[in-house]
Symmetry: C2
Subunit: 697 residues, 2 copies
């Protein structure tokens, strides 16, 4: 940058928002270009087309029904929000909800396009298949990030111009709630769907009837593959959309509440998001042209994206924070703000590396679980649970260090910048994450349509890479959700302060939230309870829905003995239907739990705002540990099974393998239902708390 | 009470301590009388004598070696304490450690006397067996409570007379550390021992060689029975000794720090303890003469004990708090203090009932797990884990309500009184708890010495009752530990305040521990990590030690094929030896972890006292949830297996039973190693924090 920094600052201040919108639009354009490149792969085999069609149809049917189920609840909440805090928040809620739903739909649509084409590309070799699957993921990544940045930016700017800055900031909380609520439903509904189908298919198929994964004779096979799309793709896309939007909104809230006199502080998180989209595009380009081995190519792509974003960020930060932002006696310099951003980028890398260590077949933790499988089911489970607990240590220490570092650099705003920097990497990270279910489905389609063995070897290989990527990005998702929730708690306190001052209710010590106050301890206990209850209900839900699948599969096999011999076709549709209904029924209670919990705590006079503060933090603390340990255990169990299937400890069909299948099945709801659903849950709790401030306090 | 309350108050003030000592001595005398009654049962069968002798020998050998291992660490800590805070605390540490060790020894000694005599008494019928087993437990209960009350009272009074009140209160923290440290070691060492032997014996015996529980052909059978004594009896006795001593000390600390002008506040918790010993004796008497069914008799015994204590407590409270205790502008009346005590007694009843619901074969939770076993190992595990999470809700809500209620009545002192009231029930509660391992061992001895089937039916029946009692008292132990830890955190804050004021280092906000301070959030995260790490290490330890047992059993069966045919005797001694060494080796790391963690946080300048405050509370929050869910899951898995063995879902040797055995095995380290060891751990963390105040701050 040779331009005069002051000129650059003026330029950014006036044109910053249009530039951010430009970056988001570029992201969307690249995404559509990638869709065209995927569509160029022509599908030869009519059988492949038919199976892919069945999967697509099941996924669409589920999402349509989910839409109707959620709409009813969303309309009620919309009505309440129109009453309080008002129409703009309600409008924000609507936009957040619609965009989050759209992100889920897009994730699913692209995945069902990409999975069959990945299988097709695998007939031409490993690299073409890798590129199609990765680009499928990249489309979701770019669309989710582009959509999130665009919707928040346009809504914020629109309300700001229309009514004013203050109302714009407040209404963003409505947008956050809309996206979070949809995200909890999508994560839970999709998570219950995918794991009920998976567990149900495995229990009868693998264990009772000795069928392999994705065997077309298993009546639950199509439901299982639909599940990958509605859970791992649609659910995940809605979840990351939400975390991105909420992190951006959190940063804007903190900037507006604590750095009122420095408008560039509000602008900065938007610019950070815009730059990172360009970084993600370069990372995606790198993976497309690189000739490295699959997992190395993907990891290097993330590195490229992070480094490019960091380099581009420095001159921008320098321009926007020229002279520093002043809060009371403290000045946050450009260096401080850039440092906080770097902490966020670094955290992404560290958490990815740490989760990779705990869940990849190349390292000791997974191998220890595989070894423990030799002495039976129970020791496999004990080893996996212990490993999940171990796996919480390093991420939590990193999170603590990130909070300490970014707070030292720039206070609460520093933490929020660091979270936004972490989330700005979502574009490339989702590309990795969505890669997993696409390759998983590609493998399923390859088996079901009887493609040759070599092709299946390629899809299997990519599936194993996708498995690790999925586990790795889950660590990222929960760590960033934990940090984002800390920022939201800060917003709760600042917003409560503003409200109490405005209404003349401020009394000394009202915002202390001191651990010496038993009400705070009570809040921490009650809040800590929430993730436990939430996980318990969601695990129960998977168990119940899987039980329904088991019964249906058993019924079909009994009614048509020809199914197992391959002479009769199973009715895939009834299984899809059963899981759809069960998932929608079972998601309601756990999804409503955090909202009702917060409202009850706020409404009961003996509890109130102080207990609620404790509840918010208590939820973050136990939620973080539960989320981290569940996703790590689940990923490690899954890969311990894969490691044994590679021929270790007796290989497939050995007693050790049977034990590892048990671990994998226990890990299914851990890593794909309860664990990831905790991410949006801990944010919903904090957002609802901010929204109820004017109603109850 | 028709006496003049003022006269009574004067009488209690002067003679209170001697009366408390009198009550403790009465408790000890009754305990010795009960031992004599147990010893009256003569053992006819030389084979029974021989097996009981082998178990006794193994248990003694283990405890002796454990003593040596702990002594080395204790001597180092004694040296450090002599340096700081000084000789009196070091002396307290020594007394606490010796008494806690003694409690463990006594628990084990009485159990090995009672188990064989219970088997003998079972030849005469169910009631004589019940009485012998219960009285064995009651001896431990009365000795532990009597010893704890006596040691704290004598030490406190001695130092008070010798040097002064202030020093007496400070030195009590040393006593608390001594008892807590030993308790962590005893719980961990004993817990690893018992579960390594149990899991190891089950894995090879039940699963590989199709042997029944306690089959004398299994080389690990004696080690398994030794484990019941060193884990469930010695470990548990040391643990409850510690909780009792620490709760009493916590109440004395809070009284001395916050109610300086009202000396009766210090006296009250001692008197509460004294009265409850008399209540426990009456409860024990009731069980001995009652003709009710076993579980009803035991539960009613607890009720009798609680009601008697409550009735006797009212006139005493009225006398001691005549006119009320004044703190600033607030007056705590006798009614308030009595109310806080009642909350503690009520909590005991509620927690016992709640845990009973979640772990007894008569209710839905256990039956749900049994039902889930029909679809295999994985669904059994998922159902058990989900159930454990559900089981945290009611106890945590009760704890929150107890904190709220007792704090409203009498501030922090009210909470400490409520905890002490809860712990004052320990005498009768341990009688139930120790009943479990005694009947378990009695069953083992009955099988191994070939007693007739009718006798085995009686011991089996009592064993099932003992199983529920064990589970129920674990809920009590962790709930009371959580409450006691909250009181200790209060002591940390008050002591830190006194220290900072005395050294002139007090600055504004130094004791806020506000959730708005990122250091507190960092502390909560780091503290939350501690129970996770602790559980992970202790579960690993069981896995490793069990693996060593498995290898040894496999080696023996291979070397002497006659063992399985019953023509060759296995070498029980080598298994006992292997588990002994493994348990002692593996207990060191997890036991030292909490101590080192606190010292590091206190010593690193960037962390310090504020982060440490967060650490203490974070440890309590996640510790409480982990402890509750692990002990509940474990108990429920165990009883789900028993429920299937009663003939449900296909009964013994059905596929559902195999799945239930897996759950039971996973539950073993949950309920008997990691879960209960969290109790002393969360207190050690808080006590060490109090002790390091003068060193680092």
């Amino acid at each position: 940058m040779t331009t005069n920094p002051i000129l650059a600052a003026t330029f950014l201040e006036t044109s910053g928002i249009p530039l951010v919108i430009g970056c988001a639009v570029i992201g969307l354009i690249v995404a559509f270009a990638l869709i065209r490149s995927i569509l160029k792969v022509k599908i030869d085999d009519p059988r492949m087309r038919q199976i892919a069609g069945a999967i697509e149809e099941g996924a669409k049917a589920y999402l349509n029904r989910q839409l109707r189920a959620i709409s009813a609840i969303a309309v009620v909440l919309f009505g309440i929000l129109c009453w309080k805090p008002g129409m703009h928040s309600a409008l924000g809620f609507l936009i957040g909800a619609v965009c989050s739903l759209a992100a889920g739909f897009i994730g699913m649509r692209v995945a069902v396009l990409a999975n069959v084409r990945t299988a097709q590309a695998a007939t031409r070799g490993r690299h073409p298949a890798l590129v199609v699957a990765f680009n499928g993921g990249a489309v979701t990544g770019l669309l989710v990030v582009g959509l999130a940045l665009l919707s928040v930016t346009l809504f914020y700017t629109g309300i700001k111009i229309w009514i004013g800055e203050d109302q714009a900031v407040r209404s963003l909380v409505g947008l956050a709630l809309g996206s979070s609520l949809i995200s909890v439903f999508a994560r839970l509904g999709g998570g219950i769907y995918t794991k009920a189908a998976d567990v149900g298919a495995d229990l009868v198929g693998k264990i009772e009837s000795n069928l392999d994964e994705d065997d077309p004779r298993n009546p639950a096979t199509v439901a299982d593959n639909v599940g990958d799309n509605v859970g791992d793709c649609a659910g995940m896309a809605a979840d990351v959309f939400e975390t991105y939007a909420v992190s951006l909104i959190g940063a804007v809230l903190i900037a507006a509440l604590t750095l009122k006199s420095f408008p560039n502080a509000v602008l900065f998180p938007f610019i950070l998001g815009g730059i990172s989209i360009l970084g993600a595009i370069l990372g995606i380009f790198f993976v497309n042209v690189s000739k490295l081995a699959p997992s190395t190519a993907l990891m290097t792509g993330v590195g490229v994206s992070g480094v490019v974003s960091a380099i581009a960020l420095w001159p921008v930060t320098q321009s926007l924070f020229e002279g520093g932002a002043r809060v009371g006696d403290v000045v946050y310099s450009a260096e401080n703000i850039f440092g906080a951003s770097l902490i966020g980028l670094l955290m992404t890398g560290l958490v990815v590396l740490i989760t990779n260590y705990y869940t990849s077949t190349h390292y000791n933790p997974v191998r220890k679980i595989a070894r423990a499988s030799e002495t039976g089911h129970a020791t496999n489970i004990i080893a996996g649970i212990a490993m999940g607990m171990h796996a919480t240590a390093l991420p939590v220490i990193c999170i603590a260090a990130a909070i300490w570092g970014s707070y030292s650099l720039a206070g609460l705003y520093g933490i929020s910048v660091s979270v936004m920097a972490m989330l700005s990497m979502a574009g490339i990270i989702i590309s990795l994450d969505a890669f997993g279910p696409i390759t998983d489905n590609a493998g399923g389609i390859a088996v079901m349509s009887g493609l040759p063995k070599e092709v299946r070897a390629i899809t299997d290989d990519l599936d194993a890479v996708g498995n690790t990527m999925k586990a790795v990005t889950k660590g990222y998702a929960i760590a960033s959700a934990g940090l984002a929730a800390v920022v939201l708690f800060g917003s709760y306190v600042e917003d409560l302060r503003a409200h109490l001052e405005a209404t003349g209710k401020m009394i000394a010590g009202a915002l202390d939230f001191s651990l010496n106050d038993p009400k705070v301890i009570i809040g921490l206990f009650l809040g800590g309870l929430l993730p436990c209850m939430f996980s318990a209900f969601s695990m129960d839900a998977v168990g119940k829905a899987a039980g329904a699948v088991v019964e249906e599969v058993r019924r079909q096999i009994k009614a048509k003995p020809g199914i197992l011999k391959g002479t009769d076709t199973p009715e895939y549709g009834t299984c899809v239907d059963i899981v759809t209904k069960a998932a929608l029924r079972e998601m309601v209670l756990p999804a409503m739990l955090p909202i009702l919990f917060v409202v009850v705590v706020a409404a009961v006079p003996a509890l109130g705002k102080t207990v609620l503060g404790g509840v918010l933090v208590g939820t973050i603390v136990t939620g973080l540990f539960l989320g981290l340990s569940m996703t790590s255990s689940g990923g490690a169990w899954d890969n311990a099974k894969k490691y044994i299937e590679e021929g270790n400890h007796g290989g497939k069909h050995s007693p050790a393998h049977a034990a590892a299948v048990t671990g994998d099945t226990v890990g299914d709801p851990y890593k794909d239902t309860s664990g990831p659903a905790i991410n949006p849950m801990i944010k919903v709790v904090n957002i609802v708390a901010i929204l109820v401030i004017p109603i109850f306090f």
